[in-house]
Amino acid sequence: MTGELTSHLNQNALKRQAQRERLSLLGLTSPAIIIIMIAMVLPVGWLFYLSFLSDEGVISLTNYQRMLDSKAYTRIFLTTFKVAFLTTGLCALIGYPLAYFLSQLPERIANICLLTVLLPFWTSLLVRTYAWLVLLQRKGLVNEWGIGLGLWDEPLPLVHNLNGTLIGMVHIMLPFLILPLYGSMKSIDTNYLKAAANLGATPTQAFWRVFMPLSFPGLFAGALIVFILSLGFFVTPAILGGGKVIMVAMQITRNIELFFNWGASSALGVVLLLITLGILYISSRFVSLDNILGGHR
């Protein structure tokens, strides 16, 4: 709404000053914009371009066509979703009680416990994954002890399959779920629980009717991060899956290393990116993405 000005005193000088200010702000942000252009926008654009190049170097939809035609690709996408979904579910199942427990501890002890949750972050992903391989294999620690204690007779197939993949991935993804969930649980005003108690709710009722619903945004945020990270995961399924669990990221490497087909790999990358963006878009209708991506609360 621009009303008719009733005074023109210094009008032009003030306008010029406002313009100068806008220009200098633009100048200050330009290095960041340039870095983002070079590091993010250009490579993704290049990826898009490559995905439309056929083996003969002509622009075409061959790479996408192949994905639709080949049963193998359908299976790969289904596996990817299954693994991501199961990982997310298991993380939520294990992470929720843990985060709740942490949120109820006194600040100092909770911080120490959080440190132990974060500890795996500081060791190499590769080392952790190989450690699981050692633990879970046929003659690994888990099977040896299980048989030794008489819990089971034959070595359990714990690795080189879906089981191993899930165990490894849940272990690696758990902090991504616990941290946002813990944050959202900590931010629940204890007065809500007091109010619930005052109105006649037992501690159990207060938990189910008040605490749990209020912690959902945090759970959803954590689950979303885990799900999206799992979709593109490579190392753990590659090592612990034993070639039986083929996910999209692994197919991308295979296309390049075995067939030197950049076009097919790029197309897979693009589809994965679009799926991820699609999930984010749908999620944004249920919870504010600011919460998930660590913006303001």
Partner: protein, 362 residues
């Protein structure tokens, strides 16, 4: 006020310490059935600690709290059946207005049809009919206040607790809600314990006010008695404006600057005394001095115009400076007063209040 809607509260020797600090120091208060009692004190005085002990959120180190004939000090909060309005309302953000108000009824397994009816009635009582389906985030501060009130009364508790419920509202709305809560109390008749640090709010709303400082009960009286006859300097200073002049004893007489004072007090505290003066109780005298009044003379040191009154700082004969509130009606004695003008002030014997000089430190 029918007693079936209310329970008396008896607080006996309640003590609570945090480390070396006495949050509550041997507090005894009896709240009559249907009474509106306000706990008044500065922040950190222990008034909220006491309220939380009544609600069950806070376990005293010693003492007894009973509702009616029932000892509740060991009862968990969810079994106390008292309504409570929290300072920041604590309305559940994931529920609508109606679901918030229905919450205590659902926990009490009230039949569905009754819930509907009671929720509507409670919202009507707080003048929020038609707001059932609103989200909490869509409400203004005053509306949230009303929902919190509706939720606290919907299950017909016989005791209602309020923890500075109006502190987040702006001044006009706050004054409006004071009257409204008072009316609601008269209509529903439940015993109400109300916490505030605002002395005017306490005077406006309460049947009785319990003034608390440093965890101790300083005085518990009706607003008028508390204002007119504070028992110590803390109460005198915390409630209303007051000035203190040093007075001396001469046998049975009490002298200010050598002149005996007329007064109507039956009991005078022992030890050193102060004369407490409310700024609005001083009359500006002109011409003849009425002989039923104590006269204090001085001269004006500062004039502050405050709309309905003129705050007139006056240096009196013993050298101390006291404030006098003078009405600003046109044609009044001080309409054209200037700094330095002499002033003759009259104090009615009934307004001549002596309090002990020590004790009740602020």
């Amino acid at each position: 006020m029918s007693s079936s809607h209310a329970l008396p509260i008896s607080i006996k020797s309640v003590t609570k310490t945090y480390g070396a600090v006495h949050a509550l120091d041997n507090v005894n208060i009896d709240v009559a059935s249907g009474e509106f009692l306000t706990l008044l004190g500065p922040s950190g005085s222990g008034k909220t600690t006491l309220l939380m002990a009544l609600a069950g959120f806070n376990r005293p180190d010693a003492g007894s709290i009973s509702f009616g004939s029932e000892e509740v000090v060991l009862k968990p909060p969810h079994k106390r059946n008292v309504g409570m309005v929290f300072q920041n309302y604590a309305l559940f953000p994931h529920m609508t207005v109606a679901l918030n108000v229905a919450f205590p009824l659902k926990l009490r397994k009230t039949p569905k049809a009754d819930i509907q009816e009671k929720v509507l009635k409670a919202l009507d009582t707080v003048q929020l009919g038609g707001f059932e389906d609103r989200q909490i985030s869509q409400l203004s501060g005053g509306q949230m206040q009303r929902v919190a009130l509706a939720r606290a009364i919907v299950f017909e508790p016989r005791i209602l607790l309020m923890d500075e419920p109006l502190s987040a509202l702006d001044k006009n709305l706050r004054e409006h809600m004071q009257i409204e809560i008072r009316r609601l109390h008269e209509k529903l008749g439940m015993t109400t314990v109300y916490v505030t640090h605002d002395q005017r709010e306490a005077l406006t709303m309460s049947d009785r006010i319990a003034v608390i400082n440093h965890g101790r009960l300083m005085q518990c009286d009706a607003p008028r008695d508390l204002y007119n006859h504070p028992m110590n300097r803390f109460v005198a200073e915390f409630i209303g404006e007051s000035a203190f002049l040093t007075v001396t004893r001469d046998g049975a007489q009490i002298l200010f600057n050598g002149a005996p004072l007329k007064h109507s007090s039956k009991t005078i505290p022992d030890g050193d005394l102060l004369l407490m003066i409310r700024p609005e109780r001083l009359a500006v005298l002109q011409g003849e001095t009425p002989d039923n009044m104590n006269v204090i003379t001085g001269h004006i040191t500062e004039l502050v115009y405050q709309g309905e009154t003129m705050l007139t700082y006056t240096q009196v004969s013993d050298g101390s400076i006291i404030a006098v509130r003078v009405n600003t009606r046109s044609g009044h004695a001080l309409t054209n007063a200037k700094v330095g003008d002499p002033l003759k002030l009259g104090l009615h014997p009934e307004d001549t209040i002596f309090i002990a000089a020590d004790g009740g430190e602020v």
